[in-house]
Symmetry: D2
Subunit: 355 residues, 4 copies
């Protein structure tokens, strides 16, 4: 439909430029593609490359007010040098040296931590100290003050996940400094949030108001592991329990609503039996996985990459993906699915079935 | 406003009767009182009177198809000889002898069991065997098949709670016979429902659809006890956790929504520290309590009654009530509050404060 | 299962009686029938019998504080002399003589008026005068002050619908007297509620909070009639618009939610083309219909009754019903369906299809 | 906190780059500002500059398959040459010559039209022809087929609003071509959607399922005007009806839920009395206004611009804005508020009060 070049047309286009206008007809394909064409690309980050760089940062870069965190963001190669793992999500390794404290602050951005290995750090959320240990999933929802401190003589590293790219693109973020030291250096085994909320099916009568984000500060590995184990045992008994044959999975939820833990971020844990290959999916929205335990591979847009403990990968919107398990294969996953669902853009397409 | 008697008026009233009419002006007070005037009365049933009658029924009355259950309903003295403990609720002692089976059936009525003492019976809910032990709270929501069987050589008794009066008054009930024997005589420690759902904050990915009633078959005493213990410990630490000073409480909830376990019945567990006296409340809707452990008293409409383990009492709508704990005092409570809240009739009035 | 009579059994049953207990096994059939067995019966009230009695009441019975309203309730013959048209619903003719005022009061019970004929009365709801005219449906939701006054020299009668039986059985009702005269004798054509809310698809920015009941004081016949007319015209054009062939219907809704006008009462308007016969339905819950215009018949549990303008009939729970239209046939309907749906007891069965 | 430059640090940063990593500590300020720092800038587009360019496009650029629409997007000067009026919203002038047709297509993006002047075009939405006239607000929600055709001998222009930038940034968009001609060239006064849904407070019984987007194809100026007029009259009578003194406003809503018309776009209409100056607001999220009638000014971040009929302006996130009315001043507004609210990022700050 693009008309032939002419002096009149050129004059018209100059008029557009002068008045801050852009015609649809020259760029409809880009603005409205037939299916999502993400600039973000599928990518795998190897833990054995990331961790040494994080450790080296521990030697060279102090942690404190201003920079706030010794966190190193995974930058999607397709997103032009921004520290975005996808258009919505931020993922980073955070590293805290022996006895160090990362100061308290709060921000509109929703955040979580996932601990692939180690222990000894406590995150203090609105004054409630939360132990961080291997396999735990911890929340610091939007506008909750939080800081971290390492009680031990060993460093500790973990994964931070946030909705920073979404917040930055959408201009929704507020930020505020808090205490330079954490407000409570106690090191209890369990946070007050867990003692109040982590009793299955029981709700404190003192907290009947639903909350936007989950009130649970930490989802413990012990529970996650048992839930996945039970699903596979139930499958063995011929009961419906798993997502697909040999594939157990749980979603971390807000116990006040049964919904996602935070309004922009979904978090799940998946376990595959050895030899299982999942169905190939395309989904609107982006996901990040981290291998927690075991060996296997991911097929991203047809390309297969072998995965080991700690490896991370991103699945941009509508990119086909599947997993293959060599051993029992445990993966943590987070995504922007609540955004897609709340705004009614979610769509899923199953390309094929597991073997 | 009632006019004086006259032949004309009498003729009018005869016309009303003939045409199945009744004037408002002669009965406005009854139809629309200034505040709820329940026919149901506050009443206490003593466990040491109930239990022997239940045991005696075990000797004299068989259990089986037709009568269905050896259940003995608590009949509110104000409700004219119906087996209603309140206008909405049914409460009964059910008694099952050694090796007996109560056959399977299903009905629209929502039901639960609460076990004040004993063990050895399994309830089979839609084919899933659920162990019954002291302190457990078990669900058989509307239209779920269920039967009971006693695996042991000792009898067992427990409390049944249902919305039978509501269902009967409102004409909503359907009923269907199932298997004469239960469909699965297995005696697992944990039901499949618990293995799928009783991991705090974790939702199976295979069950993302919300359900009208809780999918949890049994809420175990171990969890309830720990939740209440934790609330009192948090209170000791100066943290907000209890309903009022010295009064811990949890509500049993549907994990898919964070709301009540069933659409007509709320269930809670309360623990008072020794010496605590609760605020006096008036609430729209009716409640039933059973003492699980400890000694204390209830004040119902100004009248104080000493309570021991197993004793039950009913609080009709808008009757003032408070509890007093001599020892640590544990009580199970159920009510029709979801009806009142869903239809926007709930109201609470705090008459005074403890001590 | 009922055991044989014996002295021991008689002693047991005496024990039950002494302790306010009732066994399930002797009355399971009654308490839990296989399908709803309402005590309420289907019944038709003829307008030409009701109206003269209402008019006669106008001669003999004053209206004022205490009796509050010259309202005559339709008493279901199966409900033992209570002014209940069904276990949940109250329906009455209210009659207001020339220049009379019915004083203001408020109550928890939800109420509406439907005007089968006449005009000249204003209902004042929380200070907002609402004109009453033929075909209008007016709301006075729970705890809203309301009174009526007749501006004219002619009497006026209309239908009141409330949830009095439900409120009385469930012990939820509060009542309060207000002004003896209405608080505003203005006679505007449209209430303030309509001027704020009756613009299709438009919500005032000053009223973004959802309300439990509809904020609309009157649903005007003009709109109802046009909506039904449009549905039949769309059907003529081959478009989906009607419930079944020749059967147009609208539901009155709360514009802040799209749901029912009040939490206990649903209201609808139905129009049948001449010759149409509706499918035979069974529904959980009870309904009341009033013929607004036209001639036809209702078949209630197999029994056919001819209907004329103003005639009312009640359909108890699970009683099969269908309508037949001789002329164009307009009917107003109200029911307790929101109770059934909110508590998850709703069920519908279509017995047959229209010719 | 940024450490001093050193060979070791440079080596570390090179490692980051190699592994697609970016440290937080060098860019925390940008990623997480203290309050939203939009790249988008406040900007005003004058109708008397836009319209001539649109008309000239009508001479030079054909409309048809491929380019799809003769639409000219307003490009925010701060957004780097993209046709984004804000990070979430697209606004364009669309121009259709005499007897022209814009072909049918559908896309995930939600769209609307607002008609500042003219008439004679019909938009066909899923086969339903919708008349476009001055002051009307029309919907083409995501994945609804739609095309336009001009029945007259005069051209027509209007405003298109979509969530294209959001969809493109978030990778959620799908697109599909439909018929090259519209599927129905009928020119009814009212669409079928209006005939079914535009009866205030009435819901068709044939459409009880709630819909993600409003089922109303066109919100007519006649209704909008009357609603605003009524609010100001109510204000004159001392009744609560307006947002602030002299400022009437309505929100276009989905009648099935009472919520916004589409999941990403809010639309409102505002009317100021002559002389009124609104409070200065800051809001999270971006808005676009178009003057429909009257004269006045906008103050954007302290800078005042005089406005006339047809002028458009954008308010980026957290930029303070207020309006001043010289004459009666009518403005159409749309925004991304549903995104902000559904994801819990909404915040409003009132800077001062009028006058």
């Amino acid at each position: 439909m693009e008309p032939d070049d002419s002096p009149e047309l050129r004059e018209l286009y100059e008029g557009f430029e002068r008045e801050h206008l852009l015609p649809l007809w020259t760029q409809r394909d880009d603005l409205m593609p037939f299916s999502p064409k993400p600039q973000a690309v599928p990518h795998v980050w190897k833990w054995d490359r990331l961790y040494p760089l994080a450790r080296r940062s521990g030697d060279l870069v102090p942690v404190g007010r201003g920079g706030e965190r010794r966190a190193i963001g995974l930058a999607n190669p397709g997103l032009g040098g921004n520290a975005y793992i996808s258009p919505t999500l931020w993922a980073a390794i955070q590293y805290l040296g022996p006895k160090e404290t990362a100061p308290e602050h709060r921000h509109s951005q929703n955040a979580f931590r996932f601990v692939v290995e180690g222990e000894g750090v406590w995150t203090v959320v609105n004054g409630d100290p939360v132990r961080m240990s291997r396999g735990d999933f911890l929340l610091t929802p939007g506008w909750h003050f939080h800081g971290h401190h390492n009680e031990t003589d060993r460093p500790m590293a973990w994964i931070d996940g946030l909705d920073i790219p979404f917040s930055q693109q959408m201009d929704v973020g507020f930020f505020e400094f808090g205490s330079e030291r954490v407000t409570d250096y106690a090191t209890p085994d369990f946070s007050r949030s867990e003692r109040l909320w982590c009793h299955p099916g029981l709700r404190p009568l003192s907290a009947l108001q639903d909350t936007v984000s989950s009130p649970i500060g930490a989802y413990r590995w012990e529970h996650t592991d048992r839930a996945l184990t039970d699903q596979l045992l139930l499958e063995d008994e011929g009961q419906p329990a798993t997502v697909e044959q040999g594939h157990a999975a749980i979603r971390f939820m807000n116990p006040t609503t049964g919904g996602d833990v935070m309004s922009t971020i979904r978090a799940e844990f998946h376990r595959l039996r050895p030899g299982v290959r999942t169905a190939t999916l395309r989904e609107v929205g982006s996901s990040v996985f981290q291998v927690f335990e075991g060996a296997g591979a991911v097929v991203l847009d047809g390309e297969r990459t072998v995965l080991e403990k700690g490896d991370l990968f991103v699945v941009p919107s509508w990119v086909p993906w599947s997993l293959e398990a060599e051993s029992q294969f445990d993966l943590f996953r987070f995504s922007d699915a609540p955004i897609m669902e709340r705004l009614n853009f979610h769509r899923t397409h199953i390309e094929g079935n597991a073997r």
